[in-house]
């Protein structure tokens, strides 16, 4: 089978053998009302209110939103404005934790018997795509097209991140449980789990856990970056190229992340909504790299303290991996979509020079675009040429910038070019 282009990233998985450990309870948490792609929630608590773990604090009023729950027991101090990496400001509940952590009495295992039950549960649990994209899981599940195949994303192709990898090693039965829940209710015949070839232990664990389930196959993926990108994953697991203008749903394909499935399974058992997640803490500034289970809304500085990382030495903080992560500040909290926290003490700056047409960007682009020509067309503000070169297909994986010998910020330029068309 043909393989899509990609790049080989240096292996920097220092945390691959670090067991998931819970972070000690933070003193305060700040929970933003927007941690998914869609509209923000409306806070329904105010200063002085007492909340418990799993209690609803942000109501989803828009159709493209999922509710936000408190991740701790404590007292709401105030509702503040929180600035997201995108620049958007949203309301945010600041909660001071108390010593005894109690589960809210609304947390009861849901009854899930039909597809609609599952969709409702996914929505009420506040579930989003935990791989990092923040897509609304309930929207994915409520597809009107008959789903032929469930593709499970266990690629985790970014450098340094190992949160999903640890989950596959430590709790493969939760992932399989989630798969069975979804496939049963959506009447999906076939499931394919994509895991990169350089993670044989995770593949073995999943195979063992799926030994009794039929129709689940584990597909070893190339060890290149990017493998977790939806189009690339679908092609490398199912051999299907999603045509432009169509969504995977229209082709009868549902793609969910391993962590999302494991969460859905846990929710179906316990009824505790999405109030914690696993975050990989790593980077050159981190002396004790680790995988932490943290309450949503924990200030990132708490994670850095735990990982023995002096804030003074940090020059860059990333939410996510080094290839697609976003720069954040010390004021940021852990959000639902955050799979990694990377702290660097060195930030290299590169002097960009003229393109020499070496063509490496073309050979690296998974989608066979021509970044070299896009860059030139953008410089000339040639909208027609940009359209002809299909700038709209770019998924900002960053491979072109990574390989550029003239150190041109190609991916960034292409995003600006996209904005030019809009």
């Amino acid at each position: 089978m043909k393989r899509l282009n990609g790049i080989h990233l240096p292996v920097k998985k220092r945390t691959e053998d670090k067991q998931i450990t819970p972070l000690p309870l933070p003193k305060t948490v700040r929970i933003p009302m927007l941690m998914h792609s869609g509209s923000p929630c409306v806070p329904i608590v105010s200063a002085g209110d007492h909340v418990d773990v799993g209690q609803l604090i942000g109501r989803a009023e828009a159709s493209d939103a999922v509710p936000v729950h408190s991740s701790v027991s404590g007292t709401v101090r105030r509702i503040i404005r929180y600035e997201l990496p995108s620049g958007q400001t949203v309301p945010c509940a600041e909660i001071e934790t108390c010593e005894t952590q109690l589960l809210a009495d609304t947390c009861i295992p849901p009854v899930i018997n039909t597809k609609q039950d599952l969709i409702d549960a996914a929505r009420e649990s506040g579930c989003v795509g935990l791989g990092g994209d923040g897509s609304l899981t309930f929207q994915k599940l409520s597809t009107n097209h008959p789903v032929q195949m469930l593709i499970v994303n266990g690629a985790e192709c970014e450098t340094r991140l190992s949160a999903d990898g640890r989950l596959m090693l430590e709790a493969p039965e939760q992932i399989i449980g989630g798969i069975e829940l979804v496939t049963k209710l959506l009447k999906i015949r076939e499931t394919r789990i994509g895991v990169r070839r350089n993670r044989p232990a995770a593949i073995q664990q999943l195979l063992n856990a799926a030994a009794n389930s039929r129709n689940i196959t584990v597909c070893p993926l190339p060890s290149d970056y990017p493998q977790g990108a939806e189009k690339v994953l679908i092609f490398h697991t199912a051999g299907i190229a999603v045509p432009d203008g169509q969504t995977p749903e229209e082709l009868g394909i549902l793609v969910l992340n391993v962590s999302t499935l494991a969460f859905l399974y846990q929710y179906s058992q316990t009824g505790i909504p999405l109030v914690e997640r696993v975050v990989t803490v790593d980077g050159d500034a981190v002396t004790k790299p680790c995988n932490l289970r943290v309450p949503i809304g924990t200030p990132v500085t708490d994670l850095l303290d735990y990982a023995a990382c002096e804030p003074d030495r940090i020059h860059q903080l990333l939410c996510g991996g080094e290839m697609m992560g976003e720069c954040i500040t010390f004021r940021a909290s852990v959000v639902k979509t955050q799979n990694g926290l990377i702290a660097s003490n060195t930030v290299k700056t590169y002097e960009e020079s003229a393109c020499i047409r070496c063509g490496r960007c073309m050979n690296a682009c998974p989608l066979s675009l021509m970044p070299v020509s896009l860059d030139k067309a953008y410089q000339q503000r040639d909208v027609n040429q940009l359209k002809a070169l299909r700038v709209d297909l770019c998924m900002n994986c960053g491979c072109c910038t990574y390989v550029c010998t003239a150190k041109r910020p190609l991916a960034e330029t292409i995003q600006s070019a996209k904005a030019l068309l809009a």
Binding site: I314, L317, M323, S353, R357
Partner: protein, 314 residues
């Protein structure tokens, strides 16, 4: 807590750079260049020294005049100078060699916008200009280790064996006669992933095929003149050759065909660099013809129905 960096993704870069690539190309050229200097003596070394240093100097001054950063640092001028020098006869007058570097760097490269923007290979285009302007000097060669002057072109000299052609003990241009060194350098660049084998395969393949059909001695045809340096270095220049593999192959094939035509039906004894410069002009067209189809992009195919509708409308 200091101020944190805020930049767009990706936050990780590979370590390939233009300078590193150019250094590798120089390294790949060295075996043939050194053998040339050893075979033809002191003056050959001086020619290379002059072309390289003049190219670097002219690049530096053009950088000042055109206000371009990164001019000398990227080492591309040194590569151009070395390539040009290697395609000159060993006894070529030094001041004329310096003019060659001027033409390559200032007229062909910087005047068109600097590195990456020139339409023809600077060394090849400058070589053609030198051939036309200083025709006599450009066609006077010397048998290595001797003072015997020959003005006949190497492919016609006839009496030398393949071994001599491989290791450069024949009359010819400084860096062109050691075919073994050039092949070695070319393979090194392919293995490093700096160049793709597509262009050399197309070039040497089409040239060998035509020579065989024409009834010529194929190995001799391949090992003489600038065929090897042309196929492995000139036809692999990034800026002036197509981006895609299929484009590179077509480019190389075109070079092979033109080289054959010039050598056997043209007025010049060796037209490899003329062929390369001519094919350089086809690069934008080949790029457009061979552009990859983006993954998942739906090509609008004309079905019979839509064709019928179109004709009906017309």
């Amino acid at each position: 807590m200091g101020k944190l960096n805020d930049s767009a993704s990706p936050h990780l870069r590979g370590n390939a750079s233009v300078t590193r690539i150019m250094l590798c190309v120089i390294l790949a050229l060295l075996p043939a260049a050194i053998t040339g200097c050893l075979n033809y003596g002191r003056h050959a070394a001086l020619v290379l020294l002059v072309t390289v240093s003049a190219a670097v100097l002219f690049d530096f001054f053009s950088g000042l005049v055109f206000k371009r950063i990164n001019c000398v640092k990227d080492m591309s001028a040194a590569v151009t100078g070395l390539l040009l020098g290697m395609c000159l006869p060993p006894d070529f007058p030094l001041w004329k060699a310096a003019i060659g570097s001027f033409l390559a760097i200032v007229a062909v490269k910087q005047a068109f916008g600097g590195i990456g923007k020139n339409i023809a290979n600077p060394a090849a285009a400058a070589w053609i200009m030198l051939l036309l302007v200083f025709h006599k000097d450009m066609t006077t060669w010397r048998i290595p280790m001797t003072e015997t002057i020959v003005s006949s072109a190497q492919p016609l000299s006839g009496s030398v064996g393949y071994w001599d052609l491989l290791f450069g003990s024949t009359a010819g241009n400084i860096g062109e006669t050691c075919a073994a060194g050039l092949i070695l350098g070319g393979i090194f660049l392919c293995l490093c992933g700096i160049t793709s084998p597509a262009a050399p395969v197309g070039f040497l393949g089409s040239f060998a095929l035509l020579s065989w059909i024409g009834g010529f001695d194929v190995p001799e045809q391949l090992l003489t003149g600038a065929v090897m340096i042309g196929a492995f270095f000139f036809a692999n220049d990034y800026t002036t050759t197509p981006l895609t593999k299929s484009g590179k192959f077509l480019f190389g094939t075109g070079c092979g065909v033109l080289t054959f035509l010039i050598r056997h039906y043209g007025g010049f004894s060796d037209g490899t660099l003329i062929a390369v410069a001519a094919m350089n002009l086809f690069t934008p067209m080949l790029d457009r013809l061979t552009a990859p189809v983006p993954f998942g992009a739906v090509r609008k195919k004309k079905t019979k129905k839509s064709k019928k509708q179109e004709t009906a409308a017309a």
